[in-house]
């Protein structure tokens, strides 16, 4: 019952090839960052990651045109080993937002192949219908989630499930998080 997240770290390759096709405009960070794999730095976690948060625009997934690298700025120190983008490119922007992360985690707990109805998912996540559908759409655009309309008896039903790609992206995301916390962990 506990699965993907726990296994994930062992696979750990620091080179996250980020969300491949997600949103084209976000590709930039993943392609850059050759310095990516050395989070070995001094002040790894907090500084590195806080770089992501201040500027949410970059996270908005499909956010048109804003150069994600601009987020590297706020930490202010370009030099140290983590590099301006050291940590950032590892975190999939589609998943790295609280609401969507919660959706992905919940879906990842269902056995592969299982589908859950929209209202049930909503109940588990305690989100409004509007809110949930917004995030599902973004996840769907990224190819992480599949939403199908069907009928249960006579009533229409919307079924949701995490795709293979979504599962993989989530594992990668967890791996990236762990690498940020303990850079040495999976280098050995």
């Amino acid at each position: 019952m506990t699965r993907p997240d726990n296994d994930a770290p062992s696979t750990a390759s620091p080179h996250n090839n980020a969300p491949p096709a997600t949103s084209p405009d976000n590709d930039t960070p993943s392609t850059t960052s050759p310095d990516n794999d050395t989070p070995s730095t001094t002040n790894p976690d907090n500084d590195a990651l806080s770089a992501t948060s201040p500027d949410n625009n970059a996270q908005s997934g499909a956010g048109p045109g804003d150069d994600p690298r601009s987020t590297g700025g706020p930490t202010g120190d370009p030099a140290p080993a983590a590099g301006p983008n050291g940590a950032l490119p590892d975190l999939d922007p589609v998943i790295h937002a609280q609401a969507r992360l919660r959706v992905v985690v919940a879906l990842s707990q269902l056995p592969g192949g299982d589908r859950i109805t929209f209202p049930r998912l909503q109940e588990i996540l305690r989100m409004t219908a509007g809110n949930l559908s917004v995030h599902l759409r973004k996840l769907e655009e990224a190819g992480y989630v599949e939403v199908t309309k069907t009928h249960r008896g006579r009533t229409p039903a919307t079924l949701v499930h995490l795709t293979q790609r979504g599962r993989f992206a989530f594992e990668e995301y967890v791996t990236a998080l762990r690498t940020l916390i303990d850079p040495g962990e999976d280098q050995s």
Binding site: D45, Q59, Q109
Partner: protein, 210 residues
């Protein structure tokens, strides 16, 4: 509709990991039945009905507590049906509105229980005609409990649930010991160790998922 923190990210990766863990636990709590509700009804059933059976049909044919002959069996039947219906509802509630392989697994597993009990009931009913009463009790009790032990072990193979395997193995071992020990003792062993094992399994399962 959309709350302000929708797109908000995290101050540090630890926070994200904690959120993941929280949400994981929350989801599991929703989509899997509470182990206490799944095991305790059976534990209580075994404790009471095998307990009554031991008191009424004790070792060496002794009656430890005087009560009508039919009481243990009626109690067992009543409690079994209640527990079956109750756990069926709890299990179905947890998996409602989720479709796919897991619901087919659940259905196949549920049908296995019914098929197993029906088969044994037919066999024992047929064979039992030839047996003295005390051996008849041992045959039914030992046979049914053996089936339960094996089904729990098989269930652990489906859901990759170690607790369930341990429970099934425990029940199987305890049952065999009871059968070898003989009529009367079997009921005592199953009531205390078997019923107790089910109660403990519910408790452990519940603690694991908190």
């Amino acid at each position: 509709m959309t709350s302000t923190d929708d797109e908000s990210t995290f101050e540090d990766p630890g926070e994200a990991l904690r959120l993941i863990e929280r949400e994981r636990v929350n989801t599991i709590r929703h989509v899997t039945p509470d182990p206490r509700l799944m095991y305790w009804p059976w534990g209580v059933t075994w404790l009471i009905s095998f307990g009554l059976s031991f008191l009424r049909f004790g070792p060496d044919g002794k009656t430890l507590v005087d009560m009508p002959e039919w009481l243990p069996l009626i109690t067992l039947t009543g409690l079994l049906i209640t527990a079956g219906v109750f756990t069926g509802i709890v299990g179905a509630r947890a998996s409602r509105h989720i479709s796919g392989p897991s619901s087919r697994q659940g259905a196949a597993y549920g049908i296995s229980w019914s098929a197993g009990f029906t088969s044994l009931a037919v066999i024992f009913g047929r064979v039992g005609e030839q047996l003295p009463d005390e051996m008849l009790g041992l045959l039914w009790g030992g046979g049914m409990v053996a089936l339960v032990g094996v089904l729990y072990m098989a269930g652990s193979a489906i859901w990759d649930a170690r607790d369930m395997f341990v429970l099934g193995a425990w029940i199987s071992v305890v049952n065999v010991i009871g059968v070898l020990w003989g009529p009367g003792w079997h009921a005592l062993v199953v009531a205390v160790a078997g019923g107790g094992g089910l109660l403990v399994a519910g408790l452990i399962g519940w603690m694991h998922r908190r």
